[in-house]
């Protein structure tokens, strides 16, 4: 079965600093990958998704970007963080079935 790793688990960064969150998956190949942000423990906002290496679709215009340099690696980045970027970031995948499976998440606090 597939496993999703997210690194780091928690992060505190000052406004204006860069960001790099990593998501890696095991136990599957060529998955669709997704980045979500969850604010205040409620609804999920889809940020980016990828159906293959180098293929990124953005759902919401913002100062974040995503990349997929390898089949099982999905990276979320920012050049300059804003206070509003704080939240719980979740990586998810779809592989074969219809349901999405989620990673453990990264808690980002921008100060």
């Amino acid at each position: 079965s597939q496993t999703i790793h997210q690194w780091p688990a928690t992060l505190v960064q000052p406004v204006g600093s860069p960001l790099s969150l990593e998501c890696t998956v095991e136990g599957t190949s060529n998955p669709n990958l997704y980045w979500y942000r969850q604010a205040a423990g409620r609804g999920l906002q889809l940020l980016f998704y990828s159906v293959g290496i180098g293929q990124i679709s953005s759902e919401v215009p913002q100062n974040l970007s995503a990349s997929r340099p390898q089949d099982r690696q999905f990276i979320l980045s920012s050049k300059k963080l804003l206070l509003s970027d704080s939240g719980f970031y979740l990586c998810a995948l779809v592989a074969g079935g219809r349901e999405q499976y989620f990673g453990p998440g990264t808690r980002l606090t921008v100060t």
Binding site: L46, V51, R98, F102
Partner: protein, 117 residues
């Protein structure tokens, strides 16, 4: 616009009693439907799905959900609630099928389930 609604922010139930968490959707075509559970500071865990077939779907941890096409609903149920069921529950819909399916989901806003001993 396609959407998913969870009309209750919170549901309170006593341990041992049956529970229902409501979900209605508004999408075109025949959607795929899902329920997820989230514990504090954790990722979402998949509970169950409806793709086709029997309207009553059974999932993990004794949960089940009933698909009602005429009412466009997919309510989550459990016959006997446990304190450990207390968590945040999300309903989701995948309205995109066929070739080129990206697997994107539309999520409801979530319902907090509180089970009291």
């Amino acid at each position: 616009a396609q959407s998913v609604a969870q009309p209750e922010d919170q549901v309170n139930v006593a341990e041992g009693n049956p529970l229902t968490v409501k979900c209605t959707y508004s999408v075109s075509g025949n959607p795929y439907l899902f329920w997820y559970v989230q514990y504090p500071n954790r990722g979402l865990q998949f509970l169950l799905k409806y793709i086709t077939g029997d309207n009553l779907v059974k999932g993990s941890y004794g949960f089940e959900a009933e698909f009602n096409k005429s009412q466009t609903s997919f309510h989550l149920k459990k016959p006997s609630a446990l304190v450990s069921d207390s968590a945040l529950y999300f309903c989701a819909v995948s309205p995109f099928h066929g070739s080129g399916n990206t697997g994107k989901l539309i999520f409801g806003q979530g319902t907090t389930l509180q089970v009291k001993p």
